[in-house]
């Protein structure tokens, strides 16, 4: 006894509907005889039988839809006696409910290929936003971009972090965990000086200063400026300001210099390929001495348009971020002029070396009490030594002098700054 089953007529045929039997039980059939008609999505197709014999019993009635492989009739090979009526045929296997999705051609059990799907390695290009967090010894830290940005924001030293990401890379979660750990750390667990690698910085300063001296024909001017009006105004202004809003002389120096540069624009810009390129705005590079050595001059953008309060906030922010390694590389590369001030414990006069490719550097010495002639009489005045070093390729002494005179004039009317 053998079964005549619903044939597969096409690559994507899963089931067929029996339309009509062309043979009846007891009929003799030969190989190749058409015994039934089946309906498919392509239309009605005649079905052949591939075995000779006598049709025994019909299992599927016209109109029934059954999956490929379902027994539709039994066949007695030639000469076999009619089988006794077997138990009623169990109903053809319940047609599997039409799955929501195409029943994926049951792929033979395919072990996932041993070769892991190649994950393309992360692009190695350096981050644009944040300076390279080189661990000591220059080994690049494997860290995800999101983690790197967060670390910068939290001023975390990446070098000492152990990553839990792919191949030990530092992930966002690692940064968050480290940040939490730091806050709860006992006070004595002070994070050592953070941010820049002093040795690398020293090399960078040396290179810049050597190039400046080599290429730039400096000329130098100095001027002593009376600060009585400025300091008196400052003291009065700070009296009714909370500490967070109090101003320092540095704010006045930056504002005066920035406003003065509007009158002498040829000192605000760059010397490139034998030509002066004016700055796109007045961005004052404020020289900050780092604790434990090193110097950096990040930019205060559009200093001429900022209020004294805004300048003070900018100065405090720059100093704080400079010391914790949180400066953006763009802040280091786009000042249009540099202003340096050694503060209360510096020398009386500082004359700077221009930071290429800028074309000028203004210096403010220590504020000291000096004898001062006022209307022919001798008086004592707080004064500051104001200096300018400028690139003689871009400007001449006369123009430099005008700048210093303008700074002095502006410092006499602090309330207008």
């Amino acid at each position: 006894m053998s079964a005549f089953v619903m044939p597969s007529l096409g690559a994507d045929m899963e089931a067929g509907t029996l339309v009509e039997w062309l043979k009846r039980p007891g009929d003799r059939v030969e190989r190749g005889d058409v015994v039934a008609v089946v309906d498919t999505q392509k239309g009605a197709i005649e079905i052949e039988i591939f075995e000779a014999g006598v049709l025994d019993r019909i299992l599927v009635q016209p109109g029934e839809k059954v999956p490929v492989g379902t027994a539709m009739a039994t066949l007695r090979s030639n000469g076999a006696a009619q089988e006794p009526e077997p138990a009623p045929p169990q109903p053809p296997p319940e047609a599997p409910p039409e799955p929501e999705r195409p029943p994926p051609e049951p792929p033979p059990e395919v072990p996932p290929p041993e070769v892991p799907p190649e994950i393309t390695p992360p692009p190695e290009q350096p981050p644009v936003e944040v300076p390279e967090p080189e661990a000591k010894g220059g080994v690049r830290v494997r860290i995800s971009p999101a983690a790197r940005r967060r670390a910068a924001a939290l001023s975390l030293d990446l070098a000492r972090l152990r990553g839990t990401g792919p191949e030990g890379a530092v992930t966002l979660a690692d940064i968050e965990a480290a940040a939490v750990a730091r806050v709860s750390a006992p006070p004595s667990g002070r994070a050592p000086g953070v941010g820049f690698d002093p040795a690398a910085m020293r090399r960078a300063i040396a290179a810049a200063m050597a190039r400046s001296k080599r290429e730039i024909p400096h000329y130098y001017l100095t001027q002593t400026v009376d600060l009585r009006r400025a300091l008196t105004w400052l003291e009065a202004a700070n009296r009714d300001r909370p500490p967070t809003e109090r101003l320092l002389p540095a704010a006045l120096f930056v504002k005066a210099t920035a406003r003065a540069l509007r009158k002498v624009p040829e000192l605000n810009g760059f010397w490139e390929k034998d030509a002066f390129r004016p700055g796109a705005g007045i961005h004052i590079g404020w020289a900050i001495a780092l604790r434990g050595g090193g110097l950096i001059a990040p930019a205060i953008h559009d200093a001429d348009r900022k209020s004294l309060a805004e300048l003070m906030a900018a100065l405090r922010d720059l100093v704080q971020r400079a010391r914790t390694g949180g400066l953006k590389s763009s802040e280091l590369t786009d000042p249009t002029i540099t202003v340096t001030s050694l503060g209360e414990r510096g020398a009386e006069t500082v004359i700077g070396i221009i930071y290429p490719p800028q074309v000028a550097i203004v210096g403010f010495g220590r504020i000291v009490e000096h004898p001062w002639a006022v209307d022919g009489a001798l008086a004592v005045r707080p004064v500051v030594s104001l200096s300018l070093a400028a690139d003689h390729r871009a400007s001449d002494g006369h123009r430099g002098g005008l700048l210093l005179a303008e700074i002095e004039r502006l410092l006499q009317k602090p309330e207008a700054l």
Binding site: P187, R190, A191, P192, G193, V194, E235, N238, R239, P242, P243, T244, R246, L248, P249, A250, A289, R291, G292, L315, R316, V319, Q320, G343, E344, R345
Partner: protein
């Protein structure tokens, strides 16, 4: 708040400003600005930190009283009345 706690807060504040400094070895009577290489910006941040942590107002005119560790502690004790 005891005087010892107040002294520790002052030391912690100085530590934030001069992380690499060895505060244990700081002579309490010496000028902080010399000992810890503190400029006007650092000193302003020192004042701001004390103001925020302790809620005391410190006018500019009082700055000279805060230039030594002992001076600062005494000044703050007086201000806080402890």
């Amino acid at each position: 708040m005891t005087e010892a706690e107040l002294r520790q807060i002052v030391l912690d504040t100085l530590g934030d400003i001069a992380p690499e400094a060895d505060l244990a070895a700081l002579p309490p009577g010496k000028d902080l600005r010399e000992e810890l290489d503190i400029d006007s910006m650092d000193f302003l941040n020192f004042v701001i930190a004390l103001h925020e942590k302790l809620g005391v107002d410190i006018p500019e005119s009082d700055y000279p009283q805060l230039v030594t560790l002992d001076g600062a502690v005494a000044y703050l004790r007086n201000k806080l009345g402890i």
